[in-house]
């Protein structure tokens, strides 16, 4: 998560767009974060912090990945690392671009990161 970003890591990931946890992906909470499993390509990945878990869960509730990071209270200095982590998840198809209408107009139920706004 803190490793320097490679040259084209962010190629498939635009944090200004709306994202969501991929529909065929399940998160399993673990003491250190979560295990991520993609039922389609059977790939396994790990989220190494609980904040990152909250971010991934909350992506679908915010108009962009950037907005999600803000909503989840990720400090500005750490945001590049989170963008890098999300880019990695996008590349391995664990998160996907959301094409449905952003939920800006509907009231959010209490859930991850709705209180940190």
């Amino acid at each position: 998560m803190t490793a320097p970003a490679g040259p084209d890591v962010t190629a498939v990931f635009d944090p200004a767009l709306p994202w969501q946890k991929a529909r065929s992906v399940a998160l399993r909470p673990e003491p250190f974060g979560a295990l991520v499993y993609h039922f389609g390509n059977r790939k396994l990945s790990f989220l190494k912090s609980r904040t990152l878990v909250a971010v991934v869960e909350a992506l679908a509730d915010h108009p962009s990945a950037e907005a999600t990071l803000v909503a989840c209270g990720v400090p500005e200095t750490q945001r590049p690392a989170y963008v890098k982590a999300l880019a990695d998840l996008a590349r391995s198809q664990m998160i996907e671009e959301r094409t449905s209408v952003p939920p800006t107009t509907r009231t959010l139920a209490a859930g991850p990161c709705t209180e940190a706004v």
Partner: protein
């Protein structure tokens, strides 16, 4: 007076995943489930000493209950084996049941039941992975350990799967002294069927203990295997089973850690839960899925697994410069060769294993599993490695002396 509870080290926050894994997970990542001890073969190195069905085997309903539990625990896939799992009459039902409950299945088979119809069925099923076991790239090498005709059975199954359009099926090889020189041939054979090669380490578990001295790769072969894995590692699966080779220098891809009771475990055919598939021994038995609280309770609360979920802090290996690379190697390999668990792996690539094996007390009794489901009588096509004559697969299709080792 207050009772003093033994204190266990606390899980750190953050850090490397491998360090986190040493403290265990809420549910296994990689669970092996052996559905039956019954097997049509009698491979000389069978890690579970399989052959005969155990009458206490989990029933269909009990197996379904285990699947329900795995779904609740979000165990996303299981490695199903045996014995030969497909000889269970309810195998295909349990396969569908698991997939229908978000538990993907990867099963290992010798191919005996994979005819064209089954191959087509598998090709049409999502979330199922098939591994065909083959321990020689030629019939000659394979059949010596797996039995006469087993190469033909396996390759027929591979043909059927390829023909049915099955994707991503695997050829699963246990690396031995006799096939270690065939890695490129295995790769070529696998490519020919459009399959993927998976190679794993021979453990001195089950009947493997009887042939380990004879079959485990030499130091020179281990070195070649390591180089081969570095060159081909990305295309070849290993189940992370060669992590002890990382002490040659460069870490191999995957989890370089003994996952026993931490991220892996075994459910055996009668529901007993062991720390790992290679550790079928009372010392590593954590509980049974039939007990109150089921598998979840065994995984999350057994004393044994709690003990395994801490980093190794003592023992000869922790002082070695390569400890961070191999973490002392495979627990089962040490245990069944009579070595201390906090000492070197018997195949330690720095040579400490050989020294430790040589230094074993003459009185050392190698631990033996309390279970043995080996066939008691002769088996059709029995392996010839042990010098026992094979039973011809058809009467009169071999000379009366065929298979007899007259040396």
């Amino acid at each position: 007076m207050t009772a003093v509870l033994p204190s266990r080290p606390q899980r750190p926050t953050g850090g490397r995943l491998v360090d986190q894994f040493e403290y265990g997970l809420d549910a296994p990542i990689c669970l092996t489930w052996e559905l039956t001890y019954a097997c049509n073969l009698a491979c000389v190195h069978c890690l579970s000493s399989s052959g005969r069905r155990d009458p206490r085997e989990l029933s269909t309903a009990e197996a379904e209950a285990v699947i329900d539990e795995l779904q609740r625990m979000q165990v996303f896939y299981v490695n199903v084996g045996g014995g030969e799992p497909t000889v269970r009459p309810d195998f295909w039902h349990l396969l569908d049941y698991a997939i229908g409950h978000d538990v993907g299945v990867k099963f290992s088979t010798n191919g005996v039941k994979l005819d064209k119809t089954r191959a087509a069925q598998l090709a049409a099923t999502d979330y199922v992975d098939v591994q065909i076991s083959l321990d020689g790239a030629t019939a000659e090498v394979n059949d010596r350990v797996r039995g006469t005709g087993s190469f033909a059975t396996a390759t027929r199954a591979l043909e059927n799967l390829a023909e049915a359009g099955m994707k991503d099926f695997k050829v699963s090889v246990v690396v031995t002294r006799e096939n270690a020189g065939q890695l490129d041939e295995f790769k070529a054979l696998t490519d020919r069927y459009g399959a993927q090669l998976r190679i794993t380490r021979l453990r001195p578990s089950g009947r493997g203990a009887d042939v380990w001295d004879e079959l485990h790769p030499t130091q020179a072969q281990q070195r070649e295997l390591y180089s081969w894995l570095l060159a081909n590692g990305e295309q070849v699966l290993t189940g992370d089973s060669f992590f002890h080779l990382s002490a040659f220098g460069e870490a191999l891809p995957g989890l370089n850690l003994c996952g026993a009771g931490r991220v892996v475990c075994l459910i055996d055919p009668v529901g007993d839960v062991y720390a790992c598939p290679f550790a079928i021994h009372e010392n590593f038995l954590a509980g049974n899925v039939r007990d109150e609280g089921g598998f979840q309770r065994v995984w999350q609360q057994s004393e044994l697994f709690a003990d395994l979920r801490s980093p190794q802090t003592g023992g000869a290996c922790t002082k070695c410069a390569h400890f961070d690379a191999c973490r002392g190697g495979c627990m089962a390999a040490k245990f069944f060769t009579g070595l201390p668990l906090d000492g070197p792996d018997p195949e330690c690539v720095q040579g400490y294993g050989e020294t430790a094996l040589a230094a074993r007390d003459a009185a050392t009794v190698k631990p033996k599993s309390h279970l043995d489901h080996s066939h008691t009588g002769p088996v059709r096509g029995q392996p010839t490695l042990l010098g026992i004559p094979a039973i011809p697969s058809k009467i009169c299709d071999e000379s009366p002396l065929a298979g007899l080792d007259l040396r």
